[in-house]
Subunit: 193 residues, 2 copies
Amino acid sequence: MEALKRKIEQEGVGVGQEVVKVDMFLNHQIDVQLAIQMGQAFCEAFRDDQVDCILTVEASGIITGMTTAMAFGNIPVIFAKKGERRNIGSDVYTAEVYSFTHQKSNVIRVSRQYLRQGMRVLIIDDFLANGAALNGLISIVEQAGAVLVGAGVCIEKGWQPGGRLLREKGVKLVSLAIVDAIEDGRLIVRKDG
Amino acid sequence: MEALKRKIEQEGVGVGQEVVKVDMFLNHQIDVQLAIQMGQAFCEAFRDDQVDCILTVEASGIITGMTTAMAFGNIPVIFAKKGERRNIGSDVYTAEVYSFTHQKSNVIRVSRQYLRQGMRVLIIDDFLANGAALNGLISIVEQAGAVLVGAGVCIEKGWQPGGRLLREKGVKLVSLAIVDAIEDGRLIVRKDG
């Protein structure tokens, strides 16, 4: 998606060899116009897949989760919760997700009440690196007996294996931008990705 | 706001004497249409206040933070992050927030880069109970030398002191619905609130 690629090149920052810092428009300060455009791009990519609901994970997945749901005509969004919660109850699907950013393991949870058998689910998240979060969400879709339509991520880190592994598994994966490398603090975005 | 009040009465559940469970439409599964209407209601309430940006806190504050920003014509949203983060850097404003729901203290952080002196800030959050989160966000606005336009919350717990204390401090506080009590698992919503 061109607008996102330009934004990453112009404003994103690479920190060290690993960290893609886009918190000036994606995951701390939000460029709402761009978020809306990303939602429209996901909707375009999955338009023919009869999506019933969006599944994402807190916190920053909610942003494009919301705008994608809007592009689909305000279908429901379910966001998985991290960690122990008093309010969510015990009737949940769970998956363990290791976060390389925060260097710890999180359990994510989705209430069985909202994700039901046969629902056609589109997973949306902001980042794809090792695929830990997406695989956790996919596991939850499978536990629910729901149908995984595919997954959309805003930014895929091209040098990490998550994207390749998901495509090899046959998941319909749409990455709006792929960052292939960090060079002297600049983010190198794949042209045809 | 009538649509929200109806939704709370029809679908919300009170657990014990304290917990207002609205995760079927607000903070786990999201009713996107209602979230849009809530954003429009906040925009209506603060229309003449020259709002430059929305400040909220992850995770569920992002939902109506986004839709409020959209109603204002896609102004920026900044969401405070909880806990230690590798990506956000050390150049941050911080505040300590005790969460009664999760029974622990969180440090919330906002990068100094995005919240700047003189900006006119509208704080949005999903819940107001004791006011811990709102007071943390207000402290961050003050640290930045920004201007607090006011605060909008989706649901205020009328039996907890946060709303009263903020109004006594002179904060322009808009609660779209006030839940006054839990009676046999039913949520009692204030009619004229």
